[in-house]
Symmetry: C2
Subunit: 545 residues, 2 copies
């Protein structure tokens, strides 16, 4: 069977756009003599649709579009993902389905069986589980059709199973000769290789070929890398779609292909590409032509600027320098060097007079000497006012430049440096900001060495450095990764780190700053556990170690 994998980028809610794209790719597959064209999970309505699914008019529009797509089909099959409503009166009665069309009609529906409801997934909020599973025979071949999570519960691969049932095993028992999985799987580094290994074990164990088509695109914070995969019945990866862009290719289950060894590059390469793609997608889908960045002279805003240039082009990135009396001479010089390296436009406007006027105006209320933190925050917030004014005036998207380490411990100012529409590196630890910056510089110095080598400082008071307040970043990030990513707690982390005091301090800082993060911009997700949607931590709570 010749299967055309249509790794398309769709827009949540834009059913008309998605429908046209599906029909276009289907027609290409027909022209290429494919037996079957397959599209990602929920491709007709976009993934994740969230509460749009709860709207009846939205569901009706999706059904109408499905029948329009089906009406365009001939004897080449078309398998797409969309929602399907059931006919009983219990539960949501809505399914996340793979729908098979040919000869002008919807011919077969397979609802998703395993409904993920962890981390960034809320699918049980919307979808009921399939009640039954069938193998669908098409052109003399028995197809085992599954949706995303359905394939992630293999007892041969996982030590602990999330679900008591394995729908793919049932498809195999029922005689599937080819397994198809339509998917939308958010990216974090390492997931592609892990998926490859899991699917390889399945194919090898069951002696069955597999076509896995995955959504590519970004949806606010979630980044879907595409990288669709096909395996032969020996478990070899034999086809691999492009990462972070649309792709289309044909997999012939009867043909012999050369095995592909690896699916994923280095952490630095993949994460950088994911961030560039995530920002590009946000700008395109939200219709922002240009962005602004407040460049401080530090490494975080420099990395964000580089990502922006790669995402939407040199001419669409505008830099604002906003020095104060605490800005080091180097900050401006280094920034200008960096700006020259990239060839981007910039403006320089001091915050000094406005900060002074603000402190002056507030002197009837803040009669004592203002606390250090107050003066620091006023500076950060006046910068926020400047950047948002430029954003409002010209319609540019303001990029937030905070990294994950600062967001974690609250080393950032609400409405100040936290201002912005998208947190570009808010899911990247500070030590990884360095790794990625060095990777960018590996052939040529793009980010000036002075910026990379500089002692990290917010430059909000004289001689201030981050390490006045925080543990060294290597240690901090080590603790944060265990706490956030691996869900380790005080006792376990202390047994590894040794110093219980620093662990307690860091965990408290993370917990106590939940209120700040609740008001943070959405952050491009590139780790296994990002702040925001996938981490639901109480603001008010009294859990203490």
């Amino acid at each position: 069977m010749k299967i055309a994998l249509c790794q398309i980028n769709t827009i949540v809610g834009n059913i008309e756009y998605n429908k046209s794209k599906i029909i276009n790719y289907y027609n290409r597959a027909v022209k290429d003599g494919a037996d079957l064209a397959i599209f990602p999970e929920l491709s007709l309505i976009g993934y994740p649709p969230l509460d749009l699914v709860e709207k009846k008019e939205f569901r009706l529009a999706s059904t109408k579009a499905l029948y329009e797509v089906a009406s365009q089909t001939g004897n080449t099959g078309l398998l797409l993902g969309t929602i399907a409503e059931g006919d009983d009166n219990i539960g949501t009665d809505i399914h996340n389905s793979a729908i098979f069309c040919y000869d002008g009609k919807v011919q077969f529906l397979q609802h998703k069986s395993l409904i993920p409801n962890y981390d960034v997934f809320d699918e049980m909020r919307y979808f009921d589980s399939a009640k039954s599973i069938y193998v669908h025979e098409f052109k003399g071949e028995k197809l085992g059709i599954s949706v995303c999570e359905d394939i992630w519960n293999d007892a041969d691969y996982w030590y602990k199973q999330r679900y008591s049932y394995d729908p793919v095993k049932e498809l195999i028992i029922k005689g599937s000769e080819v397994i198809i999985n339509i998917s939308a799987s958010p990216y974090s580094y390492g997931k592609r290789e892990s998926r490859k290994n899991m699917l390889s074990v399945l194919c090898k164990t069951e002696r069955v070929p597999l076509a896995y088509v995955c959504f590519v695109g970004a949806q606010t914070e979630l980044i879907f890398d595409g990288a669709s995969m096909c395996f032969d019945a020996e478990g070899n990866l034999v086809k691999l779609g492009k990462a972070f862009r649309e792709d289309y290719f044909i997999f012939d289950t009867k043909e012999k292909y050369m095995p592909i060894k690896t699916s994923e590059g280095s952490f630095e390469e993949e994460t950088l590409n994911a961030l560039i793609f995530g920002l590009k997608e946000y700008c395109e889908k939200q219709n922002f032509k240009k962005v602004i960045v407040g460049l401080s002279g530090g490494i975080d805003s420099a990395l964000v600027t580089y990502i922006a240039v790669k995402a939407i082009g040199t001419e669409n990135v505008h830099i604002i320098l906003m020095p104060s009396k605490y800005s080091s001479e180097g900050s401006i010089k280094d920034s200008e060097k960096f700006i020259k390296n990239l060839g981007i436009s910039y403006s320089n406007v001091s915050i000094q007079s406005v900060v002074k006027e603000t402190l002056n105006a507030l002197s009837p209320i803040i009669t004592e000497e203002p606390k250090k933190i107050v003066e620091e925050n006023i500076q950060a917030r006046i910068r926020g006012v400047y950047l948002m004014a430029v954003s409002n005036q010209f319609g540019y998207l303001l990029l937030a430049t905070g990294n994950k380490s600062e967001m974690a411990v609250g080393y950032c100012t609400l409405y100040g440096d936290m201002a912005g529409g998208l947190g570009v590196i808010a899911d990247v630890y500070k030590t990884d900001v360095y790794r990625i910056s060095n990777y960018i510089n590996k052939e040529k110095e793009i980010i000036p060495k002075e910026i990379i080598d500089k002692v990290p400082s917010a430059e909000l008071s004289p001689g201030q450095t981050d390490q006045d307040t925080l543990p060294p970043y290597e240690l901090l990030d080590n603790i944060l990764k265990m706490y956030l990513e691996e869900n380790k707690e005080y006792e376990e982390i202390t047994s590894i780190i040794g110093d219980g005091e620093v662990v307690r301090k860091v965990l408290r800082m993370v917990d106590n700053n939940e209120y700040k993060r609740r008001q943070a911009a959405p952050a491009l997700r590139v780790s296994t556990k990002a702040f925001g949607y996938g981490r639901r931590y109480p603001v008010v709570q009294g859990w203490r170690r």
Copy 2:
């Protein structure tokens, strides 16, 4: 059987605090000769614990505390809610349980069967469903024990069921002589009466008495009203706990009580009480002694100020007036009158010089005449800078004063009037802000008539009124309620309103401003559908009517 209903206020995560409180109330029940003391859902760990449940050390601490509680028990039963771990290797293997202790030991566990996963509930993220249900015999009486949602699936009451199974019916079939439900049910107006009616139908139909104990307290945005209820076997409500405060009372299933007719006051009374309680709880649990409010002369900030005074006392509320050249003379005069009525302290600091200096500083970038919106936003944001400076200097909580109508359509400024730690009335429509304000004034003019009668205006440019940009509030709120609360869509709303253009405009405004609300302060929830946690709408999306 004499059942002591212990309607206690617990703190999420503060297991030690909750444990002590449970033991204290248990001892009181023992002294009162109760057979059994019952406590709300998850009372030992607090509700909702969110991702704390995923921490192993947290679960271990909760188990330890449970055994400590159990060890304190004698022959009076103690039924509390906490988490319990299972012993298989599939799923989360964690349960939301009702745990029955006496004679120093844990004697019986009944896990929750129906796991809510809609609106603000994410329980399937954490909890597996009970595999079985048993009636527990205690002191010769067969007790049917259930947890919260378990009792919300009665086919005799609901037109559409969420679940295919009714655990309470099973408890009755298995011979329960008394039904007990331990609960944590967030409040919105009308829910108490609706709950009363549902429970009444159950008791009447099944000829069984019922004791329903509900958590009282607020957890960031969620407000739990308490108002525990007991019913006789004729379906009469015979005991009703206090709303919005801790309570304790004894229900003797053998005694004859007078029926109680209504459980809920007027919309204005209940909503006002809920907001006062919600704010009080946030301040107490987050350890804020004082709050500040920026009083604009409009009705929203006036209502927030009144709520703050009722929540934490006159002496703990500080007002900042921040006039600009666009502030009407009335604004300051009316504000001062209101401040006098309440007897609170205030400061007056103009924003004029800082706004002017900001525009001046930005003139090298914003070389053309700044757009109206830019100047308006700068004013709002400088006010934000002032308020946050005072908040940072003195450690006061800044209250955000936006109402639900403005939050819905984005008629508010990010980092400006949206600044603050808690959105006190962000779930109250503008027309309801008027209703509640008039209710406050019903005996005596507290909020000056001038403030209530004034044409709504942000006063950010000359002669500006809200209705320059928005439909009249009566119409706007009507559309918003259908769209947000009733999940109606364009066609249906238009068929009721008549004017499709205004409906389309409003729905677009709501959808297009999701990005702003993602950065809003948590909002006290008093409606059936609040922005924030319970409404998950994509920021990037293309659903158009």
